[in-house]
């Protein structure tokens, strides 16, 4: 039993707390680091698997929290909406979800909103015509959808055909390290052979 405990303890040390709390975001609007130039009222993150209903997200602009008007979970999507489009500035969208298998996952998506000057007036004058706002919302929705499609296709392209020029890496193994490893294992092998065949004679 001592041996077992020893093995477990040494394994624990070898695999030092490799437990991470992040996972695959399939797609999101906005994407990480994206600069939004259209009015944005709906933010969503789609995950690789279904998530639990209590999953939530928060949006902060600098240190100020911008409270969502609704946050809903649909299958593997977490959707947050605002009644009014986001104003210019840099935001951090942070999400806390539980996958159906009990994995807790958190993450952050930083992005900036940088609307063209004319539209900015519309959004900063928050008390202005609601009619215009609604029109703008409708159009931004369409545009963001289009935007989303483009993004997903570009991601797929990236995955299927990696660009050679950025990835021409030479396999430069840490050669002295490799030599040491080989030597150690070889010596162990010799030691093993010696132990095995010594007893025979």
């Amino acid at each position: 039993m001592k041996k077992i405990i020893l093995t477990i303890v040494s394994l624990l040390l070898v695999l030092p707390l490799a437990v991470s709390a992040h996972t695959t975001v399939k797609t999101s609007t906005p994407t990480e680091g994206e600069e939004i130039t259209q009015e944005l009222t709906e933010l969503f993150i789609e995950f690789a698997g279904e998530i639990e209903d209590q999953s939530t997200m928060t949006l902060t602009k600098k240190t100020e929290e911008q409270s969502f008007d609704t946050v809903t979970v649909q299958g593997s999507k977490l959707i947050g909406t605002f009644n009014r489009p986001l104003t210019n500035g840099s935001y951090v969208l942070s999400w806390q979800i539980a996958a159906k298998d009990g994995h807790i996952l958190t993450g952050e998506i930083p992005f900036t909103v940088n609307l063209p000057a004319t539209e900015e007036e519309n959004t900063t004058n928050k008390e202005s015509d609601t009619l215009i706002d609604e029109e703008a919302e409708a159009s931004s929705d369409e545009e963001s959808n289009q935007n989303d499609k483009e993004e997903t296709t570009s991601v797929e392209e990236e995955q299927t055909s990696p660009q050679p020029e950025t990835n021409a890496k030479e396999a430069t193994n840490n050669s002295s390290f490799v030599t040491i490893i080989i030597t150690i294992l070889f010596l162990l092998l010799i030691g093993g052979v010696w132990i095995l065949f010594r007893k025979k004679r």
Partner: protein, 360 residues
């Protein structure tokens, strides 16, 4: 807390194996198994242990989502609405029934039924069942059931039997059974793996922690097979009056199996690489891989294998270690040394494969 989960998972796998092994051996006539003494207390404690240990992952979710603490409406709703919560409630319900059945020393069929239902509850909260409910649930539950049957019987025979009485009659049914179990575990395991790693991404996933741990798990199956070969076939040829002790060798096999259990526990806590490139961007590569390869890894990438001299040397050393493992049986060396050879095999093959990685 999350660091604790692989340990609790590992212990609960062991407890499940202990119970499953106990139930399976009840179906075997006394003439075909060694004399095994199991205390009722330890069986009852094992059931309680499972209830408590499988609650920890649920507790983790509860504490994360309910800042008000454990006794609150939120934690109640997590317990009753989250898939992990529901799975734990069902599992514990059947565990209590199993506990009572064991307590009154009830029918082995009823024990088997409740244990089976507990295993299916485990399957319900598995990663694969959240991706595709019924195929995922069944393949996970079958994988879990079959491996606990194999390990369970070995645990009882290896660690709880008095002597090697009836050993040959025991091997007569256990060897063919373990071949069937092994094939089932392998097939269901491959099926489960394809839920998270696509076949063409298998090698690519090696740069991510999940893929690394999965590779180590796969490599450690080979020494287990070597031990199974020794215990199942080679040990038969040893004459009864010889001083050879088969039990020690079964113990050695279970030690490597325990290593695999622990690796599996770790695997369950890691984010699976559904999309390797995306996972790499979000997670970064495995913590030690860049050092091992001596190069930085950035997405997008493709992992290819090209055999350098170093890598070939390490792979050959690995194969020789497996050879030594089997020879140490013939030389009647302590099985502990054979376990050492098995672990040396895992290390050298693992490094051999790592050094043959070329990232494009």
């Amino acid at each position: 807390m999350s660091q604790l989960i692989p340990v609790t998972e590992y212990v609960s796998y062991m407890l499940f194996s202990f119970l499953v092994g106990h139930v399976v051996l009840q179906f075997v006539p006394q003439t075909h198994k060694p004399i095994i003494t199991v205390k009722k207390q330890s069986l009852l404690l094992a059931v309680l242990g499972i209830i408590i240990l499988t609650f920890l992952p649920v507790l983790q979710v509860i504490l994360f989502f309910s800042p008000e603490g454990l006794i609150s409406l939120t934690s109640y709703s997590i317990l009753t609405e989250f898939q992990v919560g529901i799975a734990w409630l069902y599992g514990s319900f059947f565990a209590v029934l199993l506990w009572m059945t064991i307590y009154v020393e009830g029918s082995k069929y009823i024990q088997a039924l409740f244990l089976l239902l507990m295993i299916f509850s485990v399957g319900y909260a598995s990663h694969s069942s959240t991706l595709n409910l019924w195929p995922g649930l069944f393949s996970h539950a079958i994988h879990f059931l079959v491996i606990t049957m194999w390990v369970g019987v070995l645990l009882h025979v290896g660690w709880l039997s008095k002597d090697e009485k009836n050993w040959h009659l025991f091997l007569k049914w256990f060897t063919p059974l373990s071949i069937i179990l092994f094939l089932t575990v392998t097939i269901s395991g491959i099926f489960l793996m394809f839920f998270v790693v696509e076949p063409r991404d298998y090698v690519n996933s090696w740069v991510i922690t999940y893929g690394q741990v999965l590779l180590v798990k796969h490599l450690s199956i080979i020494p287990i097979l070597a031990f199974a070969l020794i215990n199942g076939f080679l040990a038969r040829k040893v004459k009864a009056n010889d001083q050879f002790n088969p039990i020690k060798w079964v113990q050695a096999e279970t030690i490597i199996l325990m290593v695999v259990f622990f690796i599996t526990g770790v695997l369950g806590t890691l984010p699976p690489p559904h999309q390797v490139n995306a996972t790499l961007i979000q997670e970064g590569p495995a913590p030690w891989i860049e050092f091992l390869l001596g190069q930085n890894i950035t997405a997008p990438f493709i992992v290819q294998l090209s055999l350098h001299l170093d890598a070939v040397l390490l792979l050959i050393i690995g194969v020789l270690f497996i050879g030594l493992l089997i020879i140490s049986f013939y030389k009647k060396i302590s099985p502990i040394l054979a376990v050492g050879f098995g672990i040396a095999f895992i290390i050298s093959t693992y490094l051999g494969l790592m050094f043959s990685i070329v990232i494009k």
